[in-house]
Symmetry: C2
Subunit: 327 residues, 2 copies
Amino acid sequence: MDNSRKECVVGIDIGGTNTKYGIVNRSGTILSTGSLPTDAHLPFSDFSSRVTSKIIQKINLLESPHHCMAVGMGVPDGNFMNGMMHDPPNFSWTNVPIASSFSELFKCPVVITNDANAAAMGEARYGEAQGLDHFIEITLGTGLGSGLFVDGTVVLGHSGHAGEMGHIIVDYGGRQCECGLSGCLEMYVSNKGIMRTLKECLTKYPNSLLHSIPMEELGGKEIDLAFDQNDSAAIACYEYTGKMLGKGLATAVSILSPEAFIFYGGFSNAGERLLASTRESMNHHLMDVFKETTTLKISNMKEGTGAILGATALAWDVADDKIKLNY
Amino acid sequence: MDNSRKECVVGIDIGGTNTKYGIVNRSGTILSTGSLPTDAHLPFSDFSSRVTSKIIQKINLLESPHHCMAVGMGVPDGNFMNGMMHDPPNFSWTNVPIASSFSELFKCPVVITNDANAAAMGEARYGEAQGLDHFIEITLGTGLGSGLFVDGTVVLGHSGHAGEMGHIIVDYGGRQCECGLSGCLEMYVSNKGIMRTLKECLTKYPNSLLHSIPMEELGGKEIDLAFDQNDSAAIACYEYTGKMLGKGLATAVSILSPEAFIFYGGFSNAGERLLASTRESMNHHLMDVFKETTTLKISNMKEGTGAILGATALAWDVADDKIKLNY
């Protein structure tokens, strides 16, 4: 290694539409960030070479010379244990040895994990979970992801896929999920789930303010605004969502007893509008010993940076030999 | 310490009716065991002095002189973090500083945990879970307890009460539980739950062999025998129990992805009679990525010794300074 260069790591967050990255120094300062289209319909090799050359160019453009020690990546359906991207929805790439491919290009160790675990790691190192040994990060987007911290470490489980809270069943025989099960938590608490609930609420409340907005333009912001104006459909939508979310959280509390759930991304911007009914439902579905033992918080990480920061946290652990990779 | 004496630890398993103990050497050999009535209606001080004097007497009677390095206890509603026995059902003692009380009497460190965690620790050190980093011990008795191992360590959670799988809800609005919730797993999968299901099945199947036995004499053995003779009520009872158990296990797999569930005590003696339908239901309620990733096993620890062995495993960790106690 060239000792005249400072050390940095790269965090990459691969999304279905865009891939975001950040270059971070040892103190956690983001030296540079950027984004480029993922173009998941094109071959993987096209993607990997575009991303690598762009980031190496950015490192070379930093004010002082830096040496990239490791790269961490938040990868949809990415498996930390074997470095593989398995079969994520909306991607034409399946079973890609993504860690080793990028490692050849970057010429340094590359570590991957799934996007929810990356967000949890970012939260633990830089966000609301600093100092917490037991917490669960809930990522709200198209679906619902979760990253578990137990005794200060992310839980991967035997299969490497621990933390699929989006697919615990909160309504047996309920809404059909794409995964094949029915009544999965993410069918109620995610962009797709909440918008479906909203539609149902809108048919019940013909006087809702939200009828004035075309369905395809409706989202969290519009529901929040209507909620703040006491709109019945918006209130009913968040109440139902909170009730279902509270059921799922209570189940996780009975098993893991975390200190906090931290919500990141998407509908987490609804804040207390959604969390008040969630908290009530969670405590309602808990035995006494657990009531009021787990707090609900909104992440303070800027949307889009959570997974990047988490990926860099993981990259530093690899750079510092705290984690040994099998790939 | 007297160097001419060999080292041993004591494991104690406090039950509602009887308290069992074992004296164990470093290689895990049980040097002596015994049992005495708990008499939980009498004052705690009566219990603690009786137990201590009996065990010290037993240590003094061992073939060669031994020195007790530490005592580990499996305590109903016992909290490892603060050494307290909180408010277990069927005991007149509440909020007893049980670890420090026994520590004064034994004149050595005393560590406690709840009975399911103790069983899990015994399983990890001496039983079916040797070499497993991720497993969940399910203890079947009057209720259903669980002890979680993640990354080779028992999970206590933020409150110290992690692992209350008996109270995850598998049927919203279902059977009323003593804990105040309804539809808790232990209302279906425990002595009380299974006997209730059996009663329901017996009304459905008037020709069942089990009608010839008085209800108060019916238990696991009788159901197993009837099952083996293709008795419809016995088969329906275990099918329903397995269906509900599979739902609960699937939820835990989606969250923690353990390598195995290991069943200990009570109805676990039913073995494959119960596990076949449980496995089917578990896989039915799991998304593809988890199907067939978690095995179901029956503990190979003799009933009654599991929690004692686990408690001694914990005691050795304390004796060897691997665990620091706050009490």
